[in-house]
């Protein structure tokens, strides 16, 4: 049983208890709901009448249970009826669109124009008071709500690939609706359901209160509240019981629908909790930059044995383990690997932008700043990192459309970045913005300053984001898959832009994270190959590609469909998941050259040649 299912137990058992209670009312040894006992009116709870007696001396508990029967029947009955009708209308309208949409969804929306209580009153006035007219009125009232919610959800789902796949397969549209679309729109439907049941109970109470719902002496919670109001001063408990029952049932129902929705989600996604409950960036006491002493080197960035862990319950899961590399001034280091290799996490850790659940659990990353001081990026608090970001190091992301603020003009975003680190007047900032845009090759920079991100093409957005990143002449630029989402000709343009930027600022170090070996060959000087959270090979790009010293690198190169091989060399299997890392060499299960010794211990880094590193015990024989 999963956690989500366990969390269903509580609301489900309360709901079952309530349901059983009201269903079994005729068989329970309850006092007659109409038996009056005028001398005992307003008596407090006693052994005979557990919840006391009302203004006619009738047993309150019995009336509460029988009343719940009426109230719940009306609320749930109308909620279900409205759900069935509304869902059908919404599904049909959302899936077929056009004329069908007009006669289903749009037609039902006419009801929304009428004030809800008035509509209910109208129906009840025409058909007379009673249970069935009330159900009809509430069903009418809530149908358009369902129709609209389902319609919106259907619109989203119908264009998804798996629905198209069903169409392509020749499945009948009605079957697609029932089998594919309906289960996938359940979450909003359940939320709507919980809202409607609650609201129907309130309206039922209200109408009964007005004397238009359930007819006395048949009890209902609304009627009970109405009667108790008049006698509030004699016996306030009479008001408490039905109110408690009403509120409790509504709460239970809401909880049940919420948890049901989570339990039905196949991915088992559960909420991660409120923001303030999560661990803050500056949560753990990090001593303010202890100015570590290191052997003086010329390196711009020196990452040593850095590990990144996911704190999950009591045990930590290491996602990145003992990663080391250096970046010299003016050097481009490519970090290459497949998804799950930890390449992006390593880059994010350097800027302190790791997701909240992850943290650097070992090692250090020493950055030499402009003032020739050495700081350890992994130990800085949020404020110190903020001071470094932009000026000393900055980052270019893969998805420029998500990384730029959609509601700010380009000039404002760039100006903001410049002003964060410089004290300039507005005129100077505006000049600098245009100069920056020109530097990154944006066409018509004077006009583009006033453009919003959505008005730019994909390539231009990526240029704009690079402009944001280099606005304050960072010494270290980290680019995370900056060309992956781009078309070939645009990708070439952006790669060229990176080359130009490097030539213009000779001292800037560049870390280029990518999965594309060909891009590495085009842009980088040094390459670090990562696999399953570890560095497996490192060296100058030309040397590594010409003669890989690790079987993984060799296999990766062979799997690129370039060259005339009849068949591609595929690496069998998949990258291991972090919780189930192999004990020895992490590549051993997929490696064609693995021997027993490979599976025993994690191989040490070996140095086949100056400037080369490999994490393979058999590099001499197999490469």
């Amino acid at each position: 049983m999963t956690g989500a299912q366990r969390r269903l137990i509580l609301p489900a058992s309360i709901a079952t208890f309530i349901a059983v209670l009201v269903l079994l009312a005729p068989f329970l040894p309850l006092a007659d709901v109409r038996a009056m006992d005028v001398p005992g009116r307003f008596s407090p709870p006693s052994a005979e009448h557990w919840l006391g007696q009302d203004e006619f001396g009738r047993d309150v508990m019995s009336r509460l249970i029988w009343g719940g029967r009426a109230s719940l029947f009306i609320a749930i009955g109308s909620a279900l009826a409205a759900a069935v009708i509304g869902t059908t209308l919404g599904l049909l309208g959302g899936f077929f669109r056009g004329l069908v949409e007009i006669i289903t969804v749009r037609a039902s929306e006419v009801i929304l124009c009428l004030p809800p209580l008035l509509l209910a009153l109208l129906v009840v006035t025409i058909l007379g008071a009673g249970t069935w007219p009330l159900i009809l009125a509430l069903t009418l009232l809530y149908t358009p709500n369902y129709a609209r919610v389902v319609y919106a959800a259907t619109l989203q789902v119908r264009s998804l690939d798996y629905v198209t796949a069903q169409t392509a397969m020749g499945t009948h549209p009605m079957q697609i609706l029932v089998r594919t679309v309906l289960p996938n729109i359940l979450p909003p439907l359940l939320v709507q359901m919980s809202l409607v049941v609650a609201s129907a109970m309130v309206i039922e109470s209200g109408l009964s209160f007005l004397g238009l719902g359930v007819v006395p002496p048949t009890p209902s919670w609304g009627l009970m509240i109405r009667a108790a109001r008049g006698a509030m001063e004699q016996q306030w408990l009479l008001l408490l019981w039905p109110s408690l029952a009403l509120a409790g049932t509504i709460l239970t129902f809401n909880l049940l629908c919420d948890r049901l929705q989570i339990a039905l989600d196949p991915r088992g996604i559960t909420g991660s909790g409120a923001l303030w409950l999560r661990r803050g960036h500056d949560g753990p006491p990090k001593s303010a930059a202890p100015a570590p002493k290191i052997a003086k080197s010329d390196a711009l960035l020196q990452v040593e044995d850095m590990s990144i862990s996911l704190a999950k319950g009591s045990k930590d899961i290491e996602l990145v383990r003992n990663v080391s590399f250096t970046v010299m001034p003016g050097e481009t280091r490519a970090i290459v690997g497949e998804s799950g290799s930890g390449k992006t996490l390593s880059a994010l850790a350097l800027t302190g932008l790791l997701p909240d659940v992850l943290s650097v659990s070992g090692g250090r990353a020493l950055l030499r700043t402009r003032a020739d001081e050495t700081v350890d990026l992994t130990r800085l608090d949020e404020a110190a990192l903020r001071a470094l970001r932009g000026g000393e190091l900055s980052m270019v992301f893969q998805d420029a459309s998500a990384a730029l603020n959609p509601v700010l003009r380009l000039g404002e975003q760039l100006g903001e970045v410049i002003k964060a680190h410089n004290d300039m007047d507005d005129g100077a900032v505006a000049e600098r913005v245009v100069a920056l845009l020109r530097q990154v090759g944006m066409p018509d920079p004077e006009q583009r300053v006033r453009a919003y991100p959505h008005e730019l093409s994909g390539g231009q957005r990526q240029r704009a984001m690079i402009a944001v990143a280099v606005a304050n002449d960072p010494r270290l630029l980290i680019a995370d898959e900056p060309t992956t989402a781009l078309d070939p000709t645009i990708q070439a343009q952006i790669l060229k832009l990176f080359q130009t930027l490097k030539e213009a600022t000779a001292d800037m170090g560049l870390i280029f994270v990518t999965h594309d070996l060909a891009v590495v060959a085009e842009i980088a000087d040094q390459v670090t190959v990562m696999y399953a959270g570890q560095v497996v090979e490192e060296g100058p790009v030309a040397e590594v590609f010409a003669r890989p010293r690790h079987p993984y690198t060799a296999a990766l190169i062979a799997s690129v469909p370039e060259g005339g091989a009849e068949r591609l060399v595929a690496i069998p299997g998949t990258v291991p998941v972090p919780a189930e890392m192999p004990k020895g060499c992490r590549f051993a299960p997929r490696c064609a050259h693995a021997i027993d010794a490979c599976r025993r211990d994690i191989p040490d880094i070996e140095r086949p040649a100056p400037g080369r590193r490999t994490r393979c015990i058999r590099w001499k024989e197999v490469t």
Partner: protein
């Protein structure tokens, strides 16, 4: 390959697709042609690669060839029958013979149903095998695409991208199709996994004599997999021909530019700057007159703006739409 030579399976004639767009609330609807004057035939057992940048109409072409989207003008004949003249039930029956594999292995599978149930859908819809043999057939399909047997009862989210793509391929194969449209089936996958899926597609093509329309922006994959290449630019075919001709000595300047700007593991020694094609795809709402590529073309001259160049033959089965077309050896080295 053991195909009967030149047996046309599917033929699109004069295909065009317009997505009229309205600017503002009361603005006039303007024509936006995603596809114009496209003729494409695919023979049994043939793999045709469609390459081009986003917005060139290659996905629209794929959907139309499969009958998922109706062209504004033009017809698609599948095995001699006009797809868009068929009635609903007949069309759904024909759907058995044509299937699609999508780009996003996370979006193309229903997250709420087990893998086996989704593979079985096609079997049930078209009564491919008797009901009691469905589990065996599902197991066989899973095995054919290299999935382990216990995969059948699990849900899609438990699989990695490459495995999901295998599931999607198994689902497409369930109805024993003759024709598959694969819309960027490997571009969301890692390199090593991509090779697995490309190899799988090659095996299936060989074993099942499938006709395939392979849409991709990755020229290396297309070159590896396809017999014939179609290069598209702004809704039109600019070059079409045998893979070794189109990639070996491209006749259209756009094909050359595309090849040169594709990063290569084997650097040519030429500076990236010389190979970069300037500018971006023009807006399809306001396409340039004449040849759509002339705004970025290094060879453009005033005559290019006069008329849309026709697709002229360059060799057997090889055509290019350029008034200055001619085979040119590109700078990238031939595979050894």
């Amino acid at each position: 390959m053991q195909t009967e030579p030149e047996q046309t399976l599917i033929e699109g004639r004069g295909l065009a697709r317009n997505f009229p767009q309205r600017r503002g609330l009361l603005g006039q609807a303007r024509d936006v042609w995603a596809l114009r004057d496209v003729n494409l035939t695919i023979a049994r057992g043939e793999t045709v690669g469609v390459v081009g940048e986003s917005g060139c109409g290659k996905s629209t072409l794929g959907r139309i060839m499969l009958g998922l989207d109706e062209p504004t003008t033009g017809t698609v004949d599948f095995d001699g029958r006009d797809l868009f003249a068929l009635s609903g039930p007949e069309r759904r029956k024909l759907a058995r013979r044509m299937q699609m594999v999508f780009q996003d292995p996370f979006g193309s599978l229903d997250p709420r149903r087990s893998v086996g149930a989704q593979i079985a859908d096609g079997l049930r819809t078209h009564d491919i095998v008797p009901a009691n043999e469905i589990p065996t057939e599902v197991a066989r399909l899973a095995q054919q695409v290299g999935l382990s047997h216990d995969a059948i009862n699990r849900r899609p989210h438990e699989f990695s991208g490459g495995q999901r793509q295998r599931i999607a391929i198994a689902r497409a194969l369930a109805t024993r199709p003759d024709f598959i449209v694969a819309d960027e089936p490997v571009s969301a996958l890692d390199v090593s996994i991509q090779a697995q899926v490309v190899n799988l597609l090659m095996d299936l093509r060989r074993d099942l004599n499938l006709a395939m329309l392979f849409i991709s922006h990755d020229l290396h994959v297309v070159r590896h997999l396809c017999n014939r290449i179609v290069v598209m630019y702004l809704g039109r075919i600019v070059e079409e021909g045998p893979a070794d001709k189109v990639f070996g000595s491209p006749a259209h300047p756009y094909t050359r530019a595309l090849l040169e700007s594709t990063p290569s593991m084997k650097p040519t020694g030429r500076d990236l700057g010389d190979r970069v094609l300037p500018g971006e795809l023009p807006s399809p709402m306001n396409p340039p007159s004449g040849c759509a590529f002339r705004t970025r073309c290094p060879l453009a001259e005033p005559a290019c703006a006069q008329a849309v160049p026709p697709l002229d033959p360059q060799g057997p089965g090889w055509r290019a739409a350029c008034i200055k077309a001619g085979p040119v050896k590109p700078a990238i080295p031939e595979p050894a």
